[in-house]
C-alpha cells in the first residue's frame, strides 16, 4: 500500500535555505528510495520526495523549473490516476519522455518523487496527478504550464471539506499564480465550468451523447446549483452524478460551449468503452480497456491535456492501445478458472457508476464489496447511505461484504433490500475474497467493488492466488 496519502498537506513553507546543491539532494533522495525498496518498506514510492521536500522546501520549484517542456497537472476527485496515465501513454507515442508520479502518490512529496524518479532528471516534460486539496499548494511551487481539472464529487468530507470551498480555493490559487496555467476543465461539472470561466482561453470539454442520459439527477449528486444566483440548475441531460448538460433558467447563466467533446460512446459491459473524441479540427475513435462512462470522461480529460500540450489526438489513440497490452483486458485476473474484476469505488458517485457498469452484464452478479475506513479511504463511512445500492435488488447471485467496516456495509445492504443475497460478512479481505471466489461457478465472473486501500489488499491477494494456482498447474 502506498503510504503517501497519510501525509497531511503542509500549511506553510518554512523560510530557511540550506547551503548544499540540488544535485546532492537528488542523489540522496534517490538513494533513500532505493534503500526503502531494498528494506521492503512500501514500494519506495514517496520516500525520496519526502526527503527532498523536508530538507529543502524550495526544491520542488527547482525540480519543476528544470524540466524544459514544463509541467502539466491533473487534479479533481475521480479519474486523476487514469487520466494521467493516459496522457503519459500519449506522450510516449508522440516521442516524448515524461516524468510522472507513482499512482496515488499525489501529495507534495509524491510530486517531488515523480520529478526525481525514472527519466525525471532528463525528462522532456512533467505529467503529474495532484490531490485536490494539495492543488492550491502545488500551483505556486510547480508553476505548471497546464492544468486539467476532471470533476469534483463529495469525497472524504472529513478531510477535504465541502466542494464549494474547494472550488473557491482552486480559483484563488490560479488567480494568484505568477503565470496562470493553460486550463482545461470538465464543463459538464457546473462548479468546474464556473472556475474555468474565471480565466480567459479555458479549454472546455464534456460529453454529448443523448443515449447515456440518466433522465434524472441521482441522489448522490452535488453541484446542482447556479453559482451566480443559487437557483437549482435545469438539466437537459444527466450523464453521471451532477455531470451533464444544464443551464440556469432563473438568471440565464449557461456553461461555455465545448471545445472538445465525446460522442458515440459505446459501453462494453465491465470490460471496455469506445468513443469518438472531437474538436473543431480533429476527430478520433478510441477504445480503452476500462469500463463505464467515467472511463469515457477520463479519455476526454486526457484528450484535453494532450491538446494543451500540443500532442495530436492520434497519439492518444495509440497510447490507449499501448496501455491495453500492458495491463491486460479490463484489469481482470483469473483465479481457479474464475475471472475476478477489481473495480475501485471510493465515493458515492464512484459506487453508483461502478454498479451501473456491472449491471450492464447480462448475468446475475457475484459481488465482493469491501469498505475500509483507513485514512486514505476517509474515516467517516456515512456516505454509503448516499449510494443507491437499492438498484442491485433482484440482480445478485451472492454478495460477500468485507473490509474494516464490513458490518456498516452489511447493514446498508440489508436496508437496500439485499439481505437475502448476503452470503457472508467478515473484515478479513483475503479470506472473504477466497470465499467469494468459491461462490462463483467455473468460468464465471466475480466483481470486487472496493475502496482505495482495499484495492491494494485485493490485488495483493489476487496476485498471490494467481501465482499459487500457476504453480499448481492450470486447474488447481
Amino acid at each position: 500500500m502506498s503510504s503517501s496519502r497519510r501525509e497531511q498537506p503542509p500549511v506553510g513553507e518554512p523560510k530557511r535555505r540550506l547551503g548544499f546543491g540540488l544535485g546532492a539532494l537528488v542523489g540522496a533522495g534517490r538513494a533513500a528510495g532505493a534503500l526503502s525498496r531494498v528494506l521492503g518498506r512500501g514500494a519506495g514510492s514517496t520516500i525520496p520526495g519526502k526527503l527532498v521536500v523536508a530538507v529543502a522546501p524550495g526544491a520542488l520549484a527547482s525540480l519543476a523549473s528544470r524540466i524544459p517542456g514544463g509541467v502539466l497537472l491533473v487534479s479533481g476527485t475521480n479519474g486523476k490516476t487514469t487520466t494521467t496515465r493516459m496522457i503519459v501513454a500519449a506522450a510516449g507515442r508522440a516521442g516524448l519522455a515524461p516524468a510522472t508520479n507513482p499512482a496515488g502518490a499525489n501529495l507534495l512529496s509524491g510530486l517531488a518523487t515523480g520529478l526525481l524518479a525514472g527519466p525525471g532528471w532528463k525528462a522532456d516534460l512533467g505529467l503529474l496527478e495532484v490531490d485536490e486539496a494539495v492543488l492550491p499548494l502545488a500551483v505556486p511551487r510547480l508553476r505548471p504550464k497546464a492544468l486539467v481539472l476532471t470533476n469534483l464529487f463529495r469525497d472524504q468530507l472529513d478531510r477535504y471539506g465541502e466542494l464549494d470551498t474547494l472550488g473557491e480555493k482552486w480559483r484563488e490559487a490560479l488567480a494568484a499564480a505568477e503565470r496562470i496555467p493553460a486550463l482545461a476543465v470538465n464543463a459538464d461539472d457546473p462548479l468546474l465550468a464556473t472556475v474555468g470561466q474565471a480565466f480567459p482561453g479555458t479549454l472546455n470539454f464534456g460529453l454529448r451523447d443523448a443515449r447515456h442520459d440518466l433522465g434524472r439527477l441521482p441522489h448522490a449528486s452535488d453541484s446542482q446549483y447556479c453559482r451566480t444566483c443559487r437557483a437549482h440548475l435545469d438539466y437537459r441531460r444527466v450523464y453521471l452524478g451532477h455531470l451533464g448538460e444544464y443551464a440556469c433558467t432563473a438568471c440565464g447563466w449557461r456553461p461555455p460551449a465545448l471545445d472538445l467533446w465525446g460522442e458515440e460512446v459505446e459501453l462494453m459491459g465491465a470490460r471496455a468503452v469506445a468513443l469518438t473524441v472531437r474538436t473543431e479540427e480533429e476527430s478520433v475513435r478510441v477504445e480503452v480497456d476500462a469500463p463505464g462512462l467515467y472511463s469515457a470522461y477520463n479519455v476526454l480529460a486526457a484528450a484535453a491535456g494532450c491538446r494543451l500540450l500540443g500532442i495530436p489526438l492520434a497519439a492518444l489513440a495509440g497510447g490507449l492501445a499501448d496501455m491495453r497490452s500492458a495491463f491486460g483486458r479490463g484489469g481482470s485476473m483469473s483465479v481457479r478458472g474464475r475471472h475476478v474484476f477489481p473495480l475501485l469505488a471510493k465515493n458515492p458517485t464512484g459506487f453508483d457508476e461502478v454498479m451501473r457498469t456491472v449491471l450492464q452484464e447480462e448475468q446475475r452478479l457475484f459481488l465482493l464489496i469491501c469498505l475500509n475506513d483507513r485514512i486514505a479511504d476517509g474515516r467517516d463511512v456515512s456516505w454509503i447511505w448516499d449510494v443507491d445500492f437499492e438498484r442491485l435488488a433482484g440482480r445478485c447471485a451472492g454478495i460477500v461484504a468485507s473490509g474494516t467496516r464490513a458490518l456498516d456495509l452489511a447493514v446498508r445492504l440489508k436496508y437496500a433490500g439485499l439481505q437475502a443475497d448476503i452470503v457472508e460478512v467478515g473484515s478479513d479481505i483475503p479470506a472473504m475474497l477466497e470465499r467469494a471466489i468459491d461462490l462463483v461457478p467455473d468460468g464465471g465472473t466475480l466483481f470486487a467493488v472496493v475502496t482505495y486501500t482495499a484495492l491494494h489488499e485485493v490485488r495483493g491477494a489476487l496476485r498471490a492466488g494467481h501465482e499459487r494456482s500457476a504453480a499448481l498447474g492450470p486447474r488447481a
Partner: protein, 273 residues
Amino acid sequence: MSADTCGGQSELDKRGAREIEGAQGPRGAEQGMQLRICHLYPELMSTYGDRGNVIALERRAEWSGMRVRTDEVSVGDALPEDCDFYFIGGGQDLAQGTVAEDLCREKAGALRRVWDAGAVIFSICGGYQLLGRAYRDAHGGLLEGIGILDVETVARPGRLIGDVVARSALEGSEGKTLVGFENHGGRTYLGPEARPLARVVRGAGNNGGDGTEGAVQGTCYGTYLHGAMLPKNPWLADHLLRRALARRHSSFELPSLDDSLEERLHASRTAIR
C-alpha cells in the same frame, strides 16, 4: 448568510412522494396502519448520507407490516401537515443559507403546528442548528432559527470531527448507547427548555465542553451524529417510530424485529477506542 433567489425547481427533481406496501403484511401492527414521513430538503440537506435515517424508518415500518408514505419537500413547497415524522439533515454552507431562508419564511408556522400536535421532528447537524433559536456565524452575524428547540449555536474555528459514543439521557432509555460520527464547526448550547439527548463518552457532542450531545424538547429531536445513525442505533429508531405513531394511533404494538446485524454493528462501534 443571505439568500437571493429561491425556487427554480428542475423538471427532473420535483417534489416527490412514494408509497410502499408493507412487505410481510400486518404482523402485530394495527390493521391498515400507515406511517407518513416528511423528508425536508432531501437534495439540499443530504451531504453525509443523512437520508439513511429515512430509509431506516421506511424499512423498519415496512418490516413491521405497515404501509409507508414519504413526501419529499423542498424550497418553495408547502409543508404537508398530516405527517407523523419530519426529518431534516445537514447540508453544505451554500445550501444551508437557502434552506434557512425558506424554512423561516415558508415553513416555520406549519412546522410549529405539527410539533404542537405531537408529530416527531428529527434533525441532524445543520438541520438541528436551524431548529434552534439562533446561529451566530464566525463574523458575529446572527441568523435567526425557527426556535422550536431552545438551543443556540455559535460558529468557532476548528471543526469537531470524529467517532462518537454517547450514553442516552432519554427517560426510559437509560443505559442505552448511541454511536455515530460527528463533523461540525458550530458549538451548540442548550437553554433551560431543552434537554440533552445523550452524554458523550467519546467525542465532542454539542460543543466539546459540557459533555452533552443533541437535544430533545417534547417530540423534537436534534443530534450531531450525522449519516445514518438510526440503523446503527435501532433502539432509537423504534423509540422515534413509537412516538410518531402515537399521534394518530391510541394503541398498537411494534413487533420486535431481528436486529442481530444492527446490534453487531452497534457493539463494534461502542468498542472503538
